[in-house]
């Protein structure tokens, strides 16, 4: 079964109230959604926002006309929710709780700097790199979830990485 065909089945089942089907959609897409929101909001807010995106998607599922376009549709909701977060929040920089105990001070600083550098990139590169470097998704996975062609993902990764290297290099000078 293709990615789109499986999405089609899961979306239809979810719309009929099948919570396990929606759980599978969550499992398949939560990392993509997290990467998209993390490219726009502080790390400490991203997990909650992922939940909000899925709750919103569940409520709006009846309005999705093309079940096979679920990934792109969900990505749009994630962008809107993340952009909306900025309208009602004061941005603060925060780190996950366990970092302090499991990382060196230098690593913490480098991680913060790397994340900030990714977030300066254009949206297409930023989101793709978040999926690859933060969530650990491969290029083919990113293409399957977002609906982008593998060629587009490859270009985004390549160009995004080039810009990221420049940003990090510039930041350390």
């Amino acid at each position: 079964m293709t990615v789109e065909a499986l999405d089609d089945v899961l979306v239809r089942a979810s719309r009929d109230g099948d919570r396990s089907a929606f759980g599978r959609l969550y499992t398949r897409y939560s990392r993509m959604v997290h990467a998209i929101v993390l490219s726009r909001v502080p790390p400490g807010e991203a997990d909650d926002l992922v939940q909000d995106v899925f709750v919103s998607a569940l409520r709006q599922l009846h309005a999705l006309r093309d079940e096979r376009a679920f990934g792109g549709w969900l990505a749009t909701i994630a962008r809107n929710r993340a952009n909306g977060w900025h309208r009602g929040a004061v941005e603060v920089t925060e780190l996950p709780e366990e970092i302090a105990s499991s990382s060196t001070q230098e690593d913490e600083e480098d991680a913060r700097r790397a994340l900030a550098a990714v977030r300066t990139l254009p949206a297409a590169y930023r989101e793709t790199l978040m999926m690859r470097l933060v969530e650990g998704m491969t290029g083919p996975e990113i293409a399957a979830r977002t609906g982008l062609t593998p060629e587009s993902v490859r270009v985004n990764l390549h160009r995004g990485m080039k810009l990221l290297r420049e940003a990090l290099k510039g930041g350390s000078e």
Binding site: Y26, T27, D47, Q60, G72, D107, A114, L133, T138, R165
Partner: protein, 325 residues
């Protein structure tokens, strides 16, 4: 740089990418695989407690109000009034008659019947109609219209009351509509609130003052009852796949923006651009609604745009209480 490693982690790891993975991996989603409802979210606890407390107060305050929407599963509906000689399951309706699940009310060319929809509204069965009660319980009441016409007035949350027809399912979103179906064709006409009509392949969201034609197993696109004949003809042709969207746009008045918004939701990508441009001229999009977003089928944006047309809120069903009296 190793493009293979960047692409799918194959080949020799690029040290810089591996270092970035190690650094940034700490920000990865920590709840992957857990559906939204089951996620423990400590940072939400305070908000959840406040919300629960508020909900409790609200529940107590609205207890009596909620009674309206309670109904014993399968309990028969009272028959409020009749004219002429309608029948229920082939027998004349008497003062003791009630409309239960599986019962069929038939009216001839000179009779009508009015039944109460549990406690949430009233259904008038016009002459020459056949209606069967399919389901009734708190929050969900369904009848089937095999032929003829019914008029419903309902004051209840969306999708509480629905009418099955061979063309699809008409669901009340508060609160008054007429539905006609006979011989493979019909129409649903909304006089207050909204109706959602779901066909085999298509859905139409119809606001007050508008109607949708029914044909086969799908509803047509909604349009206002006062739409000019040329617009209706162009829309009908487009719905049936025999006419271009450009003809619909060319004959649309500013008031027909409602119809174009509907088309924007279901049109293929190539047709969304001219629809967007026409709509933007008739009713400029509100802040936050962008051309790229709408063409990319951002349904939240489309909903925002629809709301900006001043058609009334779909979710604010309670404001139509006067029409349910």
């Amino acid at each position: 740089m190793s493009d293979d490693y960047l692409w799918d982690r194959s080949g020799t790891p690029d040290p810089e990418i591996a270092r970035l993975e190690s650094l940034l991996g700490r920000y990865a989603l920590r709840t992957a695989g857990v559906p939204p409802a089951a996620v423990p979210a400590s940072r939400r606890h305070a908000r959840v407690l406040v919300a629960l407390a508020a909900a409790l107060v609200l529940l107590i305050a609205l207890g009596a109000f909620a009674m309206r929407f309670l109904w014993r599963t399968g309990a028969a509906w009272p028959i409020a009034s009749v004219t002429g000689g309608p029948t229920i399951n082939g027998q004349p309706i008497t003062p003791a008659s009630r409309f239960g699940i599986g019962d069929e009310i038939r009216t001839d060319s000179r009779s009508t019947a009015v039944v109460e929809i549990a406690r949430v509204g009233e259904l008038t069965i016009a002459p020459s109609s056949t209606v069967t009660l399919m389901q009734t319980r708190g929050g969900r009441h369904r009848v089937r219209l095999d032929r003829g016409r019914v008029s419903a007035r309902v004051w209840a949350p969306p999708f509480t009351f629905s009418v099955h027809t061979p063309a699809g399912l008409a669901s009340d979103i508060g609160c008054a509509f007429d539905l006609r179906y006979d011989g493979g064709a019909g129409e649903v006409r909304v006089t207050s609130g909204w109706v959602d009509f779901d066909g085999e392949e298509r859905s139409s969201l119809i606001p007050a003052g508008a109607l949708a034609e029914l044909r086969g197993q799908n509803p047509g696109s909604p349009y206002y009852a006062d739409a000019p004949p040329a617009f209706r003809a162009a829309l009908r042709a487009y719905d049936h796949g025999t006419g271009p969207v450009s003809a619909v746009i060319a004959t649309a008045r500013p008031r027909d923006a409602m119809t174009l918004i509907h088309l924007l939701e279901r049109a293929p990508r190539a047709e969304r651009a001219p629809l967007y441009d026409a709509l933007a001229r008739m009713a400029p999009p509100p802040p936050g609604v962008t051309r790229d977003g709408v063409l990319g089928r951002d349904l939240e944006m489309v909903d925002d745009w629809r709301r900006s047309l001043g058609l009334g809120g779909i979710k604010r069903w309670w404001v139509y209480w006067r029409d349910a009296l």
